[in-house]
C-alpha cells in the first residue's frame, strides 16, 4: 500500500471536484475491492475520496421503474421488498456473490466497478497490459483457466467476475452518472463495461471524476419476475467466483416465449449478453430442445484459451439449465 491522502466528501459536488482534480484519485465506498488492490500494490491512488456520507442509499420507485442508490449495500439491495418482488433475478445474483460479510460492506456502485481477478493482474511481477500498458498479457499464454472465451483480444483475456452486473444486463438496467459539472447522464448497462480491444487498461466507459449515483431498472424488466434464474457454476458451492454463470430471464405467455434475456458471466471482459441466443428463443415454445439451440447460438463464436476449453461446453449446459429453471421445467 502506498501513502495516500484521505478526503471525506460531504456532497456530490465536492466529491466529484476532489476526484477530478487528481488523475490518481479514487472514490472510496465499501472498499471491498479497492483496499485489497491497494494492499496488493495493484492500485496506487494518491487520494481517496470517501463518499460514504453521500445520500445515495435509497431504493425507490420512480415513474420509469426503480432507482437503486449507488451507495446501497449489496445486502440492502438483495433484501429489499421491491427488488425481491419485481426483480428476483437481481436478488438471486447478488446473494450468489461473495459472502454475507462482504455483501454488507460492498456497495452497488463499487460492485459495478470491481476489477478482474485475473492472477496476472494481481501479481505485480507479471506482465499485464491492464495494469501496465504495453507490458504484455501474462494470461494469454499462461495459466488461463479463469480467462475469457468470448470477446478477448491479444492484449487481454481477463474476465469481469461480478454476479450483480450479469443480472443487470438481463434486466436492461441503466447507470445514472454525475459529472463534475453537475450534469447527469444515463448509460445503458450493456455500454457500461468495455471489451479489452487494444485498451485493456480501461474497464468501463466512465470518465475520470464521474460518480455513479444510481442504477435504474425499467418497469418492463418486471415482465421477467416470474420466469428468471441466476445460475452460478463454480468449483466450490459458496464464497467463490463463477467458472461460468448465466442470468436467464423469460417473459412467457403460457409455454410460449415472448421475450428472452440470456447473459453469460465470467466468460468475457464484460457480462456477455447473447442476442443470438435470445433470437433463437423469441416466439418459440419453452422446451429443452429450444434451449439447446439457444445455448449453441450463445457459444458459437467462443474461442477458448489453452486452459479453459471446458468453459465452452460448461457454458452451453449452463445456459440450458438456467433456461430450464427459469421456465420452471426443471
Amino acid at each position: 500500500m502506498r501513502p495516500f491522502e484521505y478526503v471525506r466528501a460531504t456532497d456530490a459536488t465536492s466529491a466529484t471536484a476532489a476526484m477530478s482534480a487528481l488523475p490518481q484519485a479514487k472514490y472510496l465506498a465499501g472498499g471491498s475491492n479497492l483496499l485489497d488492490l491497494m494492499k496488493e500494490d495493484v492500485e496506487r491512488p494518491t487520494r481517496l475520496v470517501d463518499i460514504t456520507r453521500l445520500p445515495l442509499r435509497d431504493i425507490q420507485r420512480t415513474r420509469a421503474g426503480l432507482s437503486i442508490g449507488a451507495l446501497a449495500t449489496n445486502t440492502e439491495t438483495a433484501n429489499h421488498p421491491l427488488i425481491r418482488e419485481n426483480y428476483p433475478l437481481l436478488t438471486q445474483a447478488i446473494v450468489a456473490g461473495a459472502s454475507g460479510q462482504l455483501r454488507n460492506m460492498a456497495t452497488n456502485g463499487g460492485n459495478l466497478l470491481q476489477r478482474t481477478r485475473c492472477n496476472y493482474f494481481y501479481d505485480t511481477s507479471m506482465p499485464c497490459n491492464k495494469r501496465e500498458v504495453g507490458s504484455g498479457c501474462g494470461a494469454r499464454e499462461g495459466l488461463n483457466k479463469i480467462g475469457a472465451i468470448l470477446g478477448w483480444s491479444e492484449a487481454c483475456v481477463a474476465t469481469y467476475p461480478g454476479d450483480m452486473a450479469t443480472a443487470l444486463y438481463a434486466l436492461d438496467a441503466r447507470v445514472r452518472v454525475r459529472a463534475p459539472d453537475g450534469r447527469e447522464r444515463l448509460i445503458a448497462i450493456t455500454d457500461f463495461h468495455r471489451l479489452p480491444g487494444d485498451t485493456p487498461q480501461r474497464d468501463n466507459n466512465l470518465e475520470h471524476g464521474e460518480l455513479i449515483v444510481a442504477i435504474e431498472l425499467p418497469v418492463s424488466a418486471g415482465d421477467f419476475a416470474r420466469n428468471s434464474h441466476y445460475l452460478k457454476v463454480r468449483d466450490r458451492a459458496s464464497y467463490a467466483f463463477a467458472m461460468v454463470s448465466v442470468a436467464a430471464a423469460l417473459d412467457m405467455d403460457g409455454s410460449r416465449i415472448r421475450q428472452a434475456r440470456v447473459v453469460l458471466g465470467s466468460v468475457a471482459h464484460k457480462p456477455w449478453r447473447s442476442a443470438e441466443a435470445e433470437a433463437v428463443l423469441v416466439g418459440q415454445r419453452a422446451d429443452e430442445a429450444t434451449f439447446q439451440r439457444a445455448a449453441e447460438a450463445a457459444l458459437r463464436d467462443a474461442r477458448p484459451l489453452a486452459h479453459n476449453a471446458h468453459k465452452v461446453e460448461l457454458g452451453r449446459r449452463s445456459v440450458v439449465r438456467a433456461l430450464m429453471r427459469a421456465s420452471r421445467l426443471a
Binding site: M1, R2, P3, D41, S125
Partner: protein, 242 residues
Amino acid sequence: MARYLGKETTRVDGLAKVTGKAKYTAEFQIPNVSYGFIVLSTVAKGRITAIDTRQAEQASGVIRVFTHLNAGRLGPAPAAGAAPAWSWPLQSDRVFFNGQPIALVVAESYEQARYAARLVKTTYQTESHNTDFSTVLDRAQPDPATAKGTPRGNPVAAMQAAAVKVEAEYRIPINHHNPIEPHAAIALWQGDQLTIFDKTQEVFGVQKHLAEHSRGVAICRWCLRCIAQAELLPVVDGDGGA
C-alpha cells in the same frame, strides 16, 4: 488409541486459540523492538544481477536493508567450488525458488518495513526452471541415510514367489499448510546473550542450528535461548498445529 479414533475431542488449547488468548510468537512484548519485512524473489531460478535498496533505505522509519551484498556470513562457508546452499538466506546472488527471501528491510514499525520492502528493486538473470516433479522422477536417488540399511529376508525372491502381487502408483496431491499463527520470530540481544522467540516445534533444534552454524555472528549455544509457546497436546497434524 481406539478410545479416541472417530470421537470428537476438544483440544486443551482450543478455546485459547479461537478466542485470541493463545500467545503467538509475534505477541511477546519486547521493548524497543524493530520490525523486519522480507522481500521475496519473483523468479523461480536464476541470479540477482542487481538489487537497488536506495529508495527503501531512505523511506521513513527504515533502519537498515540487508541483502546478499551486506548480510554477512550465515551458516557454514560452502566447500570450495560447491554451490551455495539455499537454506541460509542472503548468502549469494543465486535464486533457487520463487518466493525466496532476497532482502530484509528493518524499520521502526511493521508498516514502514512493509512499505519500504515494496521499494526494493531487483533485476534477475533467469534460468529455465522445472517444477514438474513427474518429469524428473527418473533422476530420483534414494536418501543415503535410509539406503544404508540392509534388508531383512529376501524381498526380491518373496515378490517373485508371491501368489498374489499388487502393484499400484499412489500420488499425494499438493498439501497447503493453513496455520492459524503467522510465521514470526523475535531476536532479543541482551549484552552477548541472544534470546530467540520462534514459531517452532523444535526449540533445541533451532538453538543448535543457529549456534553451530552462525560463525559470522559468533554465538555459542549457552548464550542462545530459544523460546516457543509450548504445545499442550501431542501434535496431530504434523506441523506444530500453530
